[in-house]
Symmetry: C2
Subunit: 340 residues, 2 copies
DNA sequence: CTAATATGTGGTAACGTTACCGTGACAGCG
DNA sequence: CGCTGTCACGGTAACGTTACCACATATTAG
């Protein structure tokens, strides 16, 4: 129950190291020997033992992806990108759900360090600073995705939150909206801040006076979307448009509007960050600044692989552009066709 | 860069084996020794090397989850359940996307076998038979989730497709619908067959004549939902209700109906298998037979752990009940409230 | 009081692979 | 001819842990 490299070597009439070299394409092996080895491998049905290899070579070819919630479609798409990139490079990926819970995060990290993973991609929570510094101390390479964390110097990929928010807000202004309520994420999360900044950029450019009562911060969650909507609707004069800073918030906004019998876009317009197209029952409807989630994942993996290849290289912070996707919810004649 | 167990042993003034025993709670270690060991561990910041442990003990404490698409919310929920269960038992999970692609499936499996994973949970595709038999030959324990595969004897968990389909169909009959179009999945997939059987059970019980022209099979995909809807709408007399055999098909149905300017439920009723609540923009709307996806994942993991503990035990096939969730799409006064 | 069992500890040898160093053989070059 | 360099392979020794066996001492049973 487990053919070893040694047995393959015996059968091929060479030494174990030669077999190792032939299989890993390291060093020089003659074509003929390589041939004999591969025959022996096939005959014996040999499956290399990556555990032994890892122990000796001190590389596990295992990476990890730490994120806050696999059930969020944005993250699963990122995960796909990460995984595909890893697979191509011969790495496996362990996926871990932190659930924004520090205890779980720490437990996972401990397990991963025991397993001697070669590196990880992290979607940090607000409180990740300590955990990440722990990683730095142990000099385990990692890449931040989507968010930056102050006090942590690492490679990173993220969407252009400020630019995307600017685009969305500008679009609302151009379609005649003047009082735009901004429902953002946690003030401690970099993306929430930047989306507000993009929103402010557009207002300033459009010479719209800024009303701080129209800007609110809270968790990136459905419940917060509902709550904030009700709050904003009570402002006088009532906003004529809402900006949801992520897809979950947008869901909450829609629910709250529906309970208030307000139609979108007839009574009030809505735009949101992130794309939630895929699971929109009734076809896509929301005007969004879509982030290239799969691309983000792939780029994150590339950064990680680059760093593994050269630990001394300069840090990179890659900002991917968002795409303004105009649909019906903003009130202009947006396309309601289904892509493909 | 890597404190070893040996160094801990020296510091604690005991032998390496004793340290091993103390850390793993195997064998007998006095409270005092245990104390000294844990002090030494803390002082040296020792992190056990799971790779070495795996090599020696022949157990990696790693499991894998093979599924067709992480971006499908049903599967991510299953994945959550699997992962949580694994985590509790001290196992790590490697998540792999097969994309219904045999080549990718085979490649992943090879990687996983090299890594000597202890077992896996598989959401099989139609063509998985060969791959699974390969696993059986290598006697790697695995559990099937959601679907059965003929010719493969293994532990399995799945939803009660037949019962759920019966419930949905019966509900449509009770609310006055008589011509129900059934849009099912691939005839080779067990769930598609069973959902049709449940549908037939209800029709027979309701003394409704069966019209085979109203039953169609195709892939569990959005595109098929669109296509099949158009086909069924051309039947004479037109169906007064549609049954979508999964969530993706339901999305396609909704799109097709929207292009035909047919309103749900006013012009035609719709029910579907699977719950897509979470990402339904505008609030939940579809009447469904909800499968307990997270539960399925947890049960799958339990079965796998049980088998790892006792490889000789009898095979189990666990069928979880579905829950009929009545909402607006079937035309009766369904609740449209949002669950928490 | 002897035998059997539980408790606490250690020595030695693997697990299967690759890092490191070494040895020829042969070609090219001045 | 000697010198250097690339190719093709092998021997030995780890990597860090635990399985297996051994051996005390303490406790209990018969």
């Amino acid at each position: 129950m487990g053919i070893t490299l040694r047995e393959v070597a015996v059968r091929a009439g060479v030494s174990p190291i030669t077999v190792s070299r032939a299989l890993n394409n390291t060093g020089h092996v003659s074509t003929e020997t390589r041939q004999r080895v591969s025959v022996a491998v096939a005959e014996l049905n040999y499956v290399p033992n990556a555990v032994a290899s890892s122990l000796r070579s001190n590389r596990t070819q295992l990476l990890a992806l730490l994120l806050t919630d696999v059930t969020n479609p944005f993250w699963t798409t990122v995960a796909r990108g990460v995984e595909d990139g890893a697979m191509e490079a011969g790495y496996g990926v362990i996926l871990c759900n932190t659930d924004e819970d520090q205890v779980k995060e720490a437990r996972y990290l401990d397990l991963l360090l025991r397993r001697r993973i070669d590196g990880l991609v992290v979607a940090p929570t607000t409180e990740s600073t300590e955990v990440l510094q722990h990683l730095m101390r142990r000099s385990v390479p990692f890449v931040l995705v989507d968010r930056l964390v102050s006090g942590v110097a690492a490679d990173s990929v993220r969407g252009d939150s400020r630019g995307g928010a600017y685009d969305l807000t500008m679009h609302l202004l151009q379609t005649g909206h003047k009082r735009i309520g901004m429902i953002s994420g946690p003030p401690t999360v970099s993306t929430a801040e930047e989306r507000v900044m993009g929103y402010l950029d557009a207002l300033r450019e459009g010479d719209i006076p800024i009303d701080v009562d129209l800007i609110c911060y809270g968790p990136y969650r459905e419940g917060w979307g509902r709550e904030a909507t009700l709050k904003l609707l009570s402002r006088q004069p009532r906003p004529d448009a809402l900006f949801a800073a992520n897809n979950f918030i947008a869901l909450g906004v829609l629910e709250a509007l529906s309970t208030q019998c307000l139609r979108v876009p007839e009574d009030i317009a809505l735009v949101c960050f992130d794309d939630a197209t895929r699971f929109a029952v009734g076809g896509p409807f929301l005007t969004t600044a879509a982030q290239p989630a799969a691309e983000m994942g792939r780029v994150a993996m590339r950064l990680l692989l680059d760093r593994l290849a050269d630990p001394g290289r300069d840090l990179q912070d890659i900002v991917l552009p968002t795409e303004l996707v105009v649909r019906a919810s903003c009130g202009c004649k947006g396309s309601t066709e289904y892509p493909n």
